[in-house]
């Protein structure tokens, strides 16, 4: 039985994966804002990231301090092996769920 993710968590994990090595809070949030056309609060992002890390799907490390951020280091997130596996599983489930969904768009017109 796979552990399901909430939609938020899922979106975040996908974003982290797409950013490869430079996923930290700010670009993740910007990306999500752009795509979902909604203003994500910092709390939501931070919280989910922490939760995912606690669950073992993400791991974080602090980067070198960078001059542009007033000398603060960034907390970079990366998918763990478990995280990748879970993501793939979820994707499969969704593909199965959403099979033949081209008709929905036609119906909702």
């Amino acid at each position: 039985m796979t552990n399901l993710l909430t939609q938020t968590e899922e979106m975040i994990m996908v974003t982290v994966w797409s950013f490869q090595n430079s996923a930290y809070c700010v670009p993740i949030r910007n990306h999500l804002n752009k795509i979902s056309k909604k203003e994500w609060s910092l709390g939501a992002v931070y919280d989910s990231l922490e939760r995912l890390e606690r669950k073992g799907y993400l791991m974080s490390n602090m980067s070198e301090p960078s001059g542009e951020r007033g000398g603060r280091s960034k907390r970079l997130f990366k998918l763990t092996a478990a995280g990748k596996k879970t993501l793939v599983q979820i994707r499969r489930i969704q593909e199965t769920l959403w099979m033949g969904i081209e008709d929905l768009e036609k119906e909702s017109r």
């Binding site: 430079s22 809070c25 001059g67 603060r72």
Partner: protein
């Protein structure tokens, strides 16, 4: 998105408002989320570029302020939790070394007790005559004779009766004046029906009760002393003479020296408080004397000064301005000698200066001197200092016993500042315990203290709110000041060396402690020597052989004219008593030097 794209030129960097940024930093500093501050800066920059600075700053501030309550409540919770731990640790420490703690706390308590007693005394002395409603506007009139150079050698408070009304008339700045007879009649005998009592008091004019607003329990201040042969008495005198009868309008026979008057009681006031230079059991109206043929002469002349004049200035006027007009006033009213320039000078002395700063040749009450007050104050501070230094030394000496606790604390994450605060808190706690003990000690020593200083300090005086505040403030101050050094030493133990039992931290420079000990000893020795010298001096004064035997000698003052007339009869009666060895009568006491100069004519044998 890679790092290259995220690079921006530092020059175009928009930084968030400083105060908000500082707050954010503070909030996140302790929970290790350093990245948050940086994240916020990036977002701010992006927002500032996109929507302009004001909107970005508004957002930034909003984020910061919204994180504040959570941070504060979290902080508070943990702080309280630590406080509980510190408190328990303090208690445990105190009980672990019972004797040491006892010596430490007791030492501090004794020092504080001395300090607080002296402070109470000093405050009492400063409080003289301050309870009068118009106290800061009342002045005593001083008069003096100037020498050729115009300087007055010494002022006197005995002024002529006529001065007051003249001053009131001519100076609009003077709201009111009043006079009392300068000699206190301590030998007065008051009799009502069968009750005979001794009492002391003086004559006061009609305005006295208006200037000095003693609250009247019976009668009215306006007219109580208007008529001749009227008297205002104090409540305790009323109780002594009249018991439960209402004294108002009763007739008392007043006998004093050669005067006898039948006076009517026209008023009653509460007893004058002890912290006032005016003390009396009764006030007779000056009209009583004025109506008496024998004493009328004092009332119309400049040449007899038997009254103390008090001046009440109008609000907002300055004594200096009024004094400046005095020379002209004197010139106007005093006839100028042909030979000498006008010699009389008058000046004003503030009422509230009388007790501590007045040293005229004839004062109504025994005044204190401000010098002694300063001296007492200094001694009090020295004693407290000694106690504080003592505490410092004792605590640092024992610091090694806490070394392991400190080591563990540091290892488990306490930082320097937290430890410092812990130990300061401990010494404040100790100081408060010492203060509690000190209050007990004060009450224990109150009675002898009162006797020595002849002050009336009741236990109630020492527990009123302002005094308690002083006690608390003293404990707090001494706790903090004396605790700084030990706290500093203790919080600087290095955990590694401590846990390895290598506690010889070269940090503690031995010379600080030596200096403190030396200081402490010198101050103590100085005080001890002073005490011994004074005590021996006092013993000397008391035990010195004066040429006569003072033991078993009793003095009986004969107060009235009748008594004096019958002196030989009294002597005969007394000699008949088996326990009385001998009796003699004299017009003055050998101890009391008061001489009047009367002309003595010496005739030689030829009658020249």
């Amino acid at each position: 998105m890679n790092n290259r794209k995220a690079k921006r030129s530092v020059r175009g960097k928009k930084t968030p408002p400083q105060p908000a940024r500082w707050l954010l930093h503070r909030i996140h500093r302790d929970n290790g989320h350093y990245s948050h501050v940086g994240d916020f800066e990036e977002i701010y920059h992006d927002m500032a570029v996109a929507k302009g600075r004001p909107k970005a700053s508004a957002w930034y501030w909003r984020q910061v302020l919204r994180s504040l309550p959570g941070y504060l409540s979290n902080n508070l919770y943990w702080r309280l939790a630590m406080l509980k731990n510190y408190f328990i640790m303090s208690l445990r420490n105190i009980f672990k070394n019972k004797w040491f703690s006892f010596i430490n706390i007791a030492g501090l308590a004794v020092g504080m007790a001395c300090f607080l007693l002296i402070v109470a005394y000093v405050r009492h002395e400063f409080s003289y005559d301050r309870f009068f409603e118009k106290g800061d506007r009342i002045h005593r009139l001083l008069i003096g004779d100037a020498d050729i150079q115009g300087r007055v050698e010494s002022f006197d408070s005995n002024t002529p009766y006529v001065l007051a009304p003249l001053l009131k008339e001519e100076f609009p700045e003077i709201a009111n004046t009043c006079r009392i007879y300068s000699v206190t009649r301590n030998n007065a005998v008051l009799q009502w029906e069968k009750n005979v009592h001794f009492a002391g008091g003086t004559y006061a004019d009609t305005q006295f009760l208006n200037v000095f607003r003693y609250p009247l329990l019976a009668g009215s201040a306006v007219n109580a002393l208007e008529e001749p042969n009227t008297m205002v008495i104090t409540r305790s005198l009323a109780e002594k003479i009249f018991g439960t009868t209402d004294p108002f309008h009763q007739i008392i026979t007043y006998r004093e020296g050669s005067r006898t008057y039948d006076v009517k009681v026209t008023g009653m006031i509460a007893d004058p408080p002890q912290n006032s230079h005016l003390q009396f059991d009764f006030l007779l109206s000056t009209q009583t004397q004025e109506a008496d043929e024998r004493w009328k002469f004092q009332f119309n002349t400049w040449n007899v000064g038997n009254f103390i004049t008090y001046i009440e200035l109008s609000p907002g006027t300055s004594a200096a301005d009024v004094e400046a007009k005095f020379p002209d006033f004197i010139k106007k009213h005093r006839a100028v000698d042909e030979k000498d320039i006008n010699k009389t000078r008058i000046s004003l002395q503030p009422l509230q200066d009388i007790h501590l700063r007045s040293n005229l040749s004839r004062e109504r009450a025994t005044n204190n001197e401000i010098r002694y007050i300063y001296l007492f104050g200094t001694i009090a501070v020295i004693i407290l200092l000694i106690a504080g230094i003592n505490y410092m030394n004792l605590t640092t000496a024992r610091s090694t016993t806490r070394a392991r606790e400190i080591g563990i604390r540091k290892v488990t994450g306490a930082n320097h500042r937290q430890l410092f605060r812990q130990f300061i808190g401990e010494s404040v706690f100790t100081a408060l315990l010492a203060a509690a003990l000190a209050v007990g000690l004060i009450h224990l020593f109150l009675v002898p203290f009162r006797k020595i200083l002849a002050v009336d300090l009741k236990p109630g005086d020492l527990l009123n709110p302002s005094q308690l505040l002083i006690i608390f403030a003293t404990a707090l101050t001494i706790g903090i000041l004396a605790g700084i050094y030990p706290a500093f030493v203790l919080s600087s133990f290095q955990p590694v060396r401590v846990l390895r039992k290598d506690i010889t931290s070269g940090r503690r420079s031995p010379w600080i402690r030596s200096v403190l000990v030396v200081l402490q000893f010198s101050a103590s020795i100085v005080l001890l020597i002073g005490t011994i010298v004074i005590s021996r001096q006092m013993k000397f004064i008391q035990k010195q052989d004066l040429g006569y035997d003072r033991e078993h000698v009793v003095i009986l003052p004969l107060r009235e004219a009748e008594g004096r007339k019958n002196a030989p009869l009294i002597k005969k009666e007394l000699l008949q008593h088996p326990e009385i060895q001998d009796v003699s009568v004299s017009s003055g006491m050998p101890l009391n030097i008061r001489s009047t100069l009367m002309g003595v004519k010496i005739t030689n044998d030829e009658g020249n």
